[in-house]
Symmetry: C2
Subunit: 595 residues, 2 copies
């Protein structure tokens, strides 16, 4: 049984047929080359790399894990060589600017590459995923000198990027961080403090590691308005670009984790480590948010990547494993039993997975296409509009894709019965690996609060209103299409629920300061389903158009999976609306001492 | 932070206040001693043992795991000694009959003990849990000779019991099993075949292991009507009760699993192992079902046990961890931040957990009390009625408690943020350990099918009709209680949904042979919520009665947690009814080749 086969057919459907992405991308400055053919060629190249190089290291990487000794981290056997091959192929700098040694390719393509890499080997993919984030932050906030020194080496994959935020007492609440930055006479700073849970903080796959570190300068205001961002390289960089002395930043230990065992998480001790301020003092959170937003989308991609590979493995197993008989009579009387795909509950798990994955892939590509527009379009108004989409979708993608990532990997494990629980079939690793994605880069509740507290309040609700307009545009455009009514009616109902929930929460918030927090997670989930239902309506429209009168299995299946989503998944939105309506009182009325 | 503190207050509430169990139990033949005082004394003794002996072995057992070498299994350090202490305390034979060396105590008490043991150390608890099952099966189906030879040693914990059902090609579908049993001239059989996933199949904690094995005698009918059950001891038992030669049953290997690492799962090779038929040839499934029913209730207990300990740890952490500020103003302005218990989403996770756990504990005790009545009551009609309750509740308890076990351990892990994902805090172990409970003893879908295909069809729906009558009795009895209306109205609505869903599925089944399978999981979940809502109504009645006018925090909290359940959890039943109504078509319309 193949462990993973890149879903190129569905990727092409979404990118080319559903969104005609190449038509849009090739009009964007710097993306003129991103034709359908080029995109397809790169996807195929990436699929080959994932299937042949990264997949074989996934189970061994989990079994072996990272080793820590005297401050040094050894990655599992084969990782270093694979990383070199990956970097040499230009994959680390795929979306980085050409002037900084990148390929300058669109984020839309970057998403598809990240999805494949994540499916093949989630631990491996985290390393270039972090490098991608630091590139985005330095590109936006770094000085010309900083860009020159760091970006090319990061884009080439010779160096690794990290983000150093969390401290033992400061996790979701960054205002509590204590790491100090004392100014030196040469314009640099001396950084001292301890950061924890630092992914890729120390390892043996690259020659240098570049940390983006949050710390406080002397007399900085307390709280989150007194945080600055610094570059702290593991090895100093000489004027000629060569590596110099070792900086005072060391891994103190590494964590024993539930999963992601080949992606090291370090305690990092900064002991008068030399660092350079990025952007302005006390404005570091903004710079780090550029990296965080990149990473939040990336973590959402990690979620769908595990859903996809779990689905593929469970589907293959369900077609092969013989147990029981079809309820409407044996489909293979010669064999001792029928394949378990005949059983409705097995199909339920597989179709649930697929109906979520396919909607998510469409939503991700639409969002990334907007990201490309927001970064490159000539018209500022168009850029702003696209940026609004990305801002609104980022918490939804991070949170919903990863919640479903855990749910789907668990459902697909269940398809294997007892074989799912043992290590041999690889399913339990998927469950363990994906579990972190609900936590890091801001827990999923932090995302929900970002959506409901921040994103909904930008410019008097402009983001939300534009979103509603876009859905109404779809509903209007297709209102005479009887063949799409089965998709449009549920979409309309769900949108109505979302609008109603939004109003309810606003009303509740007038008299209850806990209303927003109480509703946040349910609201995000309701919002996510609204976007998924929308994607299904658009995909159904396209599938009907492409299928024509003929019976093309791909499009027929697309329509069936969409119908499954509407009848078996979407009804949960009614319950979500109901729990939102019940407000904060059921949560807050229990006294703390009673817990 | 204490890892686990036995929830004695809530246990006493359920057993004594809610169900007045001792009043009932002491009227049952053989249970006359089971007074409130005796029950309380045993619970306290058990709590002490769990907290001081079993809890300390939980993390080390996970880290060390079981070792396999040359056919022998070594359990983690300290397990053997703890098991001896456990057995010497009489805990292995707590509910076994006195004439077989047991304590003869009620199953109701046995449940509470199992819950505590499971919370303290799930892996450890599986060993006596299996012994309990084999005792129940041999007591019901064994010959007098077999009972005499085996039961006393099993009840004393000197010997261990196992159940050997699964084979590589025969998991959920037992009809496919191939292990052979050839009759010997002395009345015994020679058993040959390979069984997999055999918990406790081989280990070093006991002097003998007694396997209950399913196999086929020569010329047995194919399928599940040709299965016989045998006793196969690891060491033969001489006439004087001493141990003799080694039998031909050996562990071939042990599984590397996601969790439950101290509970060994073996491949067991039977190579002309000598076995003795239990009951009649070809009727072995009935005998094994006695054990399976015991184990299914036991696995449900494992589910709640992990929910309870996860809740306790998350609640303690939430009271201690300082991050962020309460939305309605700092509750502790002197400290750098408020404890995270102030945040609505943290409370949501904790209250979800607790509202499920408390309903489950009530449902479990009610079911076990019925089990005691079914086993001991003088009146056959009363026994039958109680047995009906147990039969109906068994799949619900097994499936729902374990599904929620996974959901709750994951929610509680999330409360810890990044600390939940690392091994140090023990939360990720809970998630890994409990995951198997959704799979073994019949996957949760097998339970759902048992409920909907078998239990609902017993004697023209007698079990279901009696259940509905019992709920209506509650609704009738309390209909004038305005102070309970907030509990009774949702209960009535949920019962109506359940009755409606039952009718819908029956109608669908007339024309669609896949209707029952398609609805099974959603139906079981809807049924479970109906029972939980019922338990909440009964608990609310009792809490109001006990609280009187005064403000007793225990009862006040009980009411709040119940209200939380009604407003934040129960609304999902509307969605379940909707997905049931949509039938099998959305699942079956996709061609197998499209997966």
């Amino acid at each position: 049984m193949t462990f993973y086969s890149a879903p190129l057919r569905d990727m092409r459907f979404v990118v080319h047929e559903l969104f005609s992405a190449a038509d849009e991308l090739t009009t964007l400055p710097g993306c003129e080359d991103a034709s359908e053919d080029l995109i397809n060629a790169i996807l195929e190249e990436c699929a080959k790399l994932c299937e042949t190089v990264l997949v074989p290291l996934n189970r061994t990487g989990d079994a072996e894990g990272c080793k820590f000794k005297s401050g040094e981290v050894t990655t599992p056997k084969g990782f270093k060589e694979a990383y070199k091959q990956f970097a040499n192929g230009g994959w680390c700098g795929l979306t980085a600017a050409r002037e900084h040694g990148g390929q300058g390719l669109p984020e839309t393509l970057g998403y598809l590459v990240d999805e494949m890499v994540g499916s093949a080997n989630l631990s491996f993919g985290l390393y270039p995923g972090l490098t991608k984030g630091i590139i985005s932050s330095l590109s936006a906030h770094g000085s010309e000198e900083q860009k020159k020194v760091y970006l090319t080496k990061l884009a080439s994959g010779e160096w690794q990027g990290t983000m150093c935020l969390t401290e033992a007492q400061s996790g979701s609440d960054l205002s509590l961080l204590r790491t100090k930055a004392e100014p030196n006479r040469d314009g640099s700073y001396s950084i001292s403090g301890t950061k924890i849970f630092i992914s890729a903080g120390e390892h043996d796959m690259v020659e240098n590691i570049v940390h983006l570190v949050l710390a406080r300068v002397p007399d900085a205001p307390s709280g989150s308005r007194g945080i600055s961002m610094f570059i702290v390289p593991k090895f100093f960089v000489e004027d000629d670009g060569s590596l110099g002395a070792r900086n005072g930043v060391f891994a103190g230990s590494i964590e024993k984790k539930m999963g992601m065992k080949a992606a090291v998480a370090c305690v990092m001790n900064f002991d008068n480590a030399k660092g350079w301020l990025v952007g302005q003092a006390n404005k570091g959170l903004a710079g780090m948010f550029t990296m965080m937003n990149t990473e939040r989308l990336f973590v959402g991609t990690q979620g769908i990547s595990q859903s996809e590979v779990a689905y593929q493995r469970a589907a293959a197993y369900a077609l092969e494993r013989l147990q029981g008989r079809a309820a409407d009579g044996p489909i293979d009387p010669e064999k001792p039993a029928d394949p378990i795909i005949v059983h409705p509950d097995i199909r339920d798990k597989l179709l649930f997975s697929r109906s979520i994955i396919e909607a998510e892939r469409a939503l991700a590509v639409w969002t990334q296409l907007n990201l490309d527009i927001s970064l490159r379009h000539r018209d500022q108004a168009v850029r702003q509009c696209a940026d609004d989409v990305v801002a609104l979708m980022t918490p939804i993608i991070k949170s919903s894709f990863t919640d479903f990532g855990s749910e789907i990997t668990n459902l697909c494990l269940q398809v294997f019965g007892g074989y799912g629980y043992i290590s041999e079939y690889g399913m339990e690793q998927l469950v363990r690996d994906v579990r972190i994605t609900q936590i890091y880069e801001g827990t999923n509740t932090i995302q929900a609060l970002d959506l409901i507290q921040r994103k909904l309040n930008v410019a008097k609700g402009r983001l939300f209103n534009n979103f509603v307009d876009q859905l109404n545009e779809t509903l209007d455009r297709l209102k005479s299409r009887n063949d799409l009514a089965e998709f449009l009616l549920p979409l309309k109902e769900t949108l109505d629920l979302l609008i109603s929930a939004t109003d309810i929460i606003r009303d509740q918030a007038l008299s209850d300061s806990n209303a927003v927090g109480a509703a946040a997670n349910d609201y995000l989930r309701l919002f996510a389903h609204t976007t998924y239902a929308w994607m299904w309506a658009l995909m159904a429209e396209k599938a009907l158009e492409k299928a024509g009168g003929g019976k093309d299995e791909f499009y027929e299946t697309k329509l069936h999976v969409g119908r499954y989503y509407l009848s078996k998944v979407l009804p949960v939105t009614v319950a979500l609306h109901s729990t939102i309506r019940s407000g904060a009182a059921p949560l807050m009325s229990v006294d703390s001492s009673a817990f």
